[in-house]
Symmetry: C2
Subunit: 249 residues, 2 copies
Amino acid sequence: MYGAIEAGGTKFVCAIGNENLEIIEQVSFPTTTPKGKWRNYNFLDTLKSYFNVPIALTTDVNAAAYGEYVKGYEKKISNIVYFTIGTGIGGGGILNGELIEGFSHPEMGHMKVVPHPKDSYKGNCPFHGNCLEGMAAGPAIEKRNGVKGQDLSEEDSFWEIEAYYIAQCMYNTTLMLSPDVIVLGGGVMQQDHLVKKVRNQFKHMLKEYVQIPKINHYIVTPKLGQRSGIIGGLALAEKALYNARESIH
Amino acid sequence: MYGAIEAGGTKFVCAIGNENLEIIEQVSFPTTTPKGKWRNYNFLDTLKSYFNVPIALTTDVNAAAYGEYVKGYEKKISNIVYFTIGTGIGGGGILNGELIEGFSHPEMGHMKVVPHPKDSYKGNCPFHGNCLEGMAAGPAIEKRNGVKGQDLSEEDSFWEIEAYYIAQCMYNTTLMLSPDVIVLGGGVMQQDHLVKKVRNQFKHMLKEYVQIPKINHYIVTPKLGQRSGIIGGLALAEKALYNARESIH
């Protein structure tokens, strides 16, 4: 059996899964204590002091990317990038079976974006102002429109502006990593119409400069729905166990 | 002994190297036949029909990245991205020892960039107009200034505009891949002052959002000078031989 904890700003999800990475039991509880108070908390060593088992620790989007990678597709894929577009924007990915990690985990959500000609919003990222997160995350949608994205009509012209920013992210990701699939998760993407708008704008930007996989199989929403992260956590636990056994032999 | 061919638009460089990847002999000759006429030429199968040895084929920037990765640093690095800023702009990289390759080789040179507030140039990329290559490659420099970059004074204010675009590329690359080092090669980067301007603008953009390695060791010019590509070719030949032997055992 494997265990996984998905620690979010709103809630913690804890699950136990079997050897097929199927969830056997799951509980969630509100985080309550402000998210900021977890800063610098030594999660890993605390867990290690309670459980004498191999443990892996990574970002939410890395876990979600890994979940989609391991359990989202019947046919094995080699490369995947997962973005969450919600309260913030984050990205994580797998290349040739390994998480994309250099001197740091990726911070893809803060990439540069070209302002939409009809958008005068200056962005609300406290670090970079008008980076992708500053322009396209949930709070930036609400700031411009006075209502949350979920309360904005599907026909509202703002969605083309939103799609324009996300499409730039798809474009840069394609040219940098050319993954087999790019997954768009998170609260904002629960607007069904949005992924189609993103695909259209992305194709318009790319100008067929590189030959991408079929668009409906290339830019997609999560196959595992909202469980990508927690199932990814179980899959990472399995990998940690495998690595620990390998290092013994 | 290993052999390498670097096929460029201006010249072909051919080299033979020893087991330490040191060049024993090298010749180069002008390409003459227009670059475009090589399109769809089956380089790999033609070589295979002459030489019964393992052969690897990749892009110029992938080879240069691999050369810098294998021979550029005394202390082993895990991740590297190499950009050439010249007639065009291209990028290639190594993550955990493997070339970054998905459904395609990367086309990082065509990433989106935010126009500089003082730059009214619309860009000359035939595909994307004002992408990085369309704004910052050699021909775009010449178009704006009436002279080639090499004939433009170090004090010319244009260089800050040029650095602004390249810095955006460094910024996006950092947030997507966080490599140990980013190498800036190609003709335009032979302006010694430019890499410093890029570093300064990059730091200004990043706002210390992620903690990067020391800047002078992070954004660098090629350690192997203009030989990164051809030495990378020799290193890829060594790797092809190694892989071929592994697959026999």
